[in-house]
Point group: D2
Chain length 271, copies 4
């Protein structure tokens, strides 16, 4: 199905690892809605090669590797994208996150601060770098839209989420702060989508993920939002229907965020 | 412009007083997006007759008067709408509000409680009544969408907004509470849009409105959102792009809600 | 234990039904901290007679009945209190709430609106009435403190809490709105305390209360806050230590409000 | 004035630069309330020598230098403090912040990321390091209290606050996350106080500070909270009156945080 919502729009999608990725689904949906795309991911992720299938599906979109902690890589990505797309950008999806302390099984009360710095650099400061590179290169069109994916652990503690909670809080703050400056300068809007826990390849690695996704499902009046749902919602934020929405953290979670408890969870507690 | 986002969808729009109304613009935009509509307003407002122009524009949509404080009127509206539209509803816009204490120039520290009760009944409890009538008549389709318009005075004090701040806080709470129940039962989602101050016929009557709308403009990185912008955003919330968004209060305000101060306001403070 | 935190201060405590009441514990603690008190409750509650024991303990504090939905009763209470206490008031505790629809077993999707109006009048608008009567009688001292008790259902849905969620959202909005006006006029501060579910005589009546309080206990890193804890916290808000805190909703809940899930709850979900 | 609120309690106060510092006032007030103290600051700040006056006033409290970005320094500080105080700690004040990009006049849209990393390390991650060192050394008593100072720029954009907004958002997230773990383990509570802009030696250096503090004063129903007010409020959070308050960000700002606009600001806008 397509509404041509993004007809004539050009954008970059970060983070399409494989067909479970939210970014993968979003790229497909953006293309279906008429957008022209550039795909990017970390060089190490590109080596897996899956993204080339997606690129084909999306009108032979170029795949350009970029380390999100490198200004040079981001600048190169932006320059090549403009060249390929024949102009400035209308939208960017930031779907990037990685926790070294989680990978290394370090508890939140026993963090390695070098790991933490890298986790933040990749997961949160990367949004600032990206925005700063776009801003300084004047690479976004007026009323462009930047979306980053986040999680409600930025507001409330989910213990296994570990340092990524702090990374997401930082990411959301960057979205607000840069949203102000880019809004004033060029009407570019920046928002974060706070998505239900999603069974992606990245998410599945987290300890206790199954118990947790099951809890979220029972705590959400509409159930958990899927990667496909998230792709559709992201398209709405890239479209002209939402031009005055900026600096917001938007919960896309079937109502989880404003549910204190459900009858289903109480029933489980009484077992 | 149209994307056919609401093709095949049926809905009711409350509160289109005249061509400045957000509800007016929303009805036009819904119709353009392929929806079938019923229009409604208070009987006294209908007597002005303007709404008939809108009805014509919208494919000769029926205009059915309803007092939002009357279960009978709301039930009648729902029944007639289903008959006319040939089925259940996919969306409803609640754009209803009126403050008797403001009209009568009563200060917030000198409220008349009978007036207040009426203000709340019209402006906030009407959303509950509407949802309850829809729920009991099982009149919404699965994954239907209900949107009510609100204002940030529900979160922060704007002194001239008076008792309407409390009415809006109540309205937003009703949206959350009923959103839970309707979500669990039938995947119907309920959200509020917290809109920039808008120069409608209703809004313009408020004391100090000009100073205030000017302040909001200077405090919003993208400027104030217009009634047309709001219509477009509402369409996105009625569409299938946002099916997992529920129980949310969504700021549609050019960034006002997350701006502490702007350079422009500081400059003005230093005069 | 006493710190003399309220030495020389005068106040009114609403809602001490019996020795399980938060208001009862608060009155005891205020008296222990050196305050002079007046006690009040609804005439029907006074007839139970328990409050007289509390009055004795609190230096033979006068007990003055007042229907919180009556301006006359509130004005009479204020006048008698000033006379008895020999001056204006420094603090007031509003601990008042009652849901007719809950009592009558009406579901949230099947509310009786006359009941609802009464529930709101007693549980939420009573704070406005009280503040308005105090304001118009100029009965508070400079830097006085008004506290009302609320619950997190004002922010997130707990289905069995029913219409009281909306009443609490309204109550919190009134605290903010009146807090602005009373702050500007006389530096009087108004805050709400959002307390853990507490096994009071009133609370225990609510359907599913046991399952619920157990869930809250498991979801709070420090466990649920007790009535005694709440009394101590309220004293801090009546004291001069917190003079610049106003218009806030303060969670007093062992961390429940910012906990997304605990290890204990996840373990229970996996059973 | 003293209530003996902290009699028998032992704590560390970070960040008392000179007599304008909030930490300075807090140390004085804690001592007056009966606490035993250790004072600390960065070695470079200690070289100014002013802190020795404060140490004398506070019963010859030891002054122990510590670089908050060094685990070794923090561990040494904790060990020496326990030795000097003869036992574990009941409270800690974290009043630490520094922005290299602000100092170097780098705009938010032109940040140097090495500077930023250092700013975050000093201003935000230092709270994590401190908590982690305390936790691993098991250096806090049951029901101890840790408070960090923050600013509302963590929620809303104040453009001149620059990268410190992101640092404060990160700091608040750390307080929540560590508050969960320390609460579950040992009932230690961790909160942040979001203080009015305060004319300290550190604060005064920020560009546009005068216009800004003036704006905050006009936007706060009670005016800006002073450093003395903040010291008193912090004492309440170290005391046993607030044992069930944790993982909260507490606005101490004369009502600024929940005020949308004041009559005074509107009047200024109309000039």
């Amino acid at each position: 199905m397509s509404y041509n919502l993004l007809k004539g729009k050009k954008g970059i999608v970060f983070g399409a690892l494989d067909s479970n990725s939210i970014a993968w689904k979003t790229a497909q949906r953006c293309y279906a809605e008429g957008a022209q795309l550039v795909l990017t991911n970390a060089p190490v992720a590109l080596r897996m090669g899956e993204i080339n299938k997606l690129a084909e599906e999306c009108g032979n979109a170029p795949v350009i590797g970029a380390d999100v902690t490198s200004n040079e890589d981001l600048t190169n990505l932006i320059n090549q994208s403009r060249e390929h797309l024949g102009g400035n950008l209308d939208f960017v999806l930031h779907s990037v996150g990685m926790s070294l302390n989680v990978r290394k099984n370090k508890a939140y009360t026993d963090l390695n601060y070098d790991f933490q710095h890298k986790s933040f650099d990749i997961s949160a400061m990367s949004l600032h770098r990206l925005c700063q590179c776009l801003y300084q290169a004047d690479a976004m069109n007026e009323w462009g839209s930047i979306v980053a994916l986040t999680y409600i652990a930025a507001q409330r503690v989910f213990p296994d989420y570990n340092e990524m909670a702090d990374a997401k809080a930082l990411l959301e703050s960057v979205a607000r702060s840069f949203g102000y400056h880019y809004g004033v300068k060029k009407h570019v809007r920046i928002n974060t989508i706070s998505q239900s826990p999603t069974r992606t390849t990245a998410g599945s690695g987290v300890k206790g993920f199954d118990g947790f996704i099951n809890y979220a499902e029972k705590m959400s009046p509409l159930g958990n939002a899927s990667a496909d749902d998230c792709a559709a919602y992201t398209v709405s934020l890239f479209s002209d229907l939402t031009r005055m929405v900026t600096m917001q953290n938007l919960f896309h979670d079937g109502g989880f965020s404003f549910t204190g408890v459900t009858a289903e969870v109480i029933a489980q507690m009484e077992k």
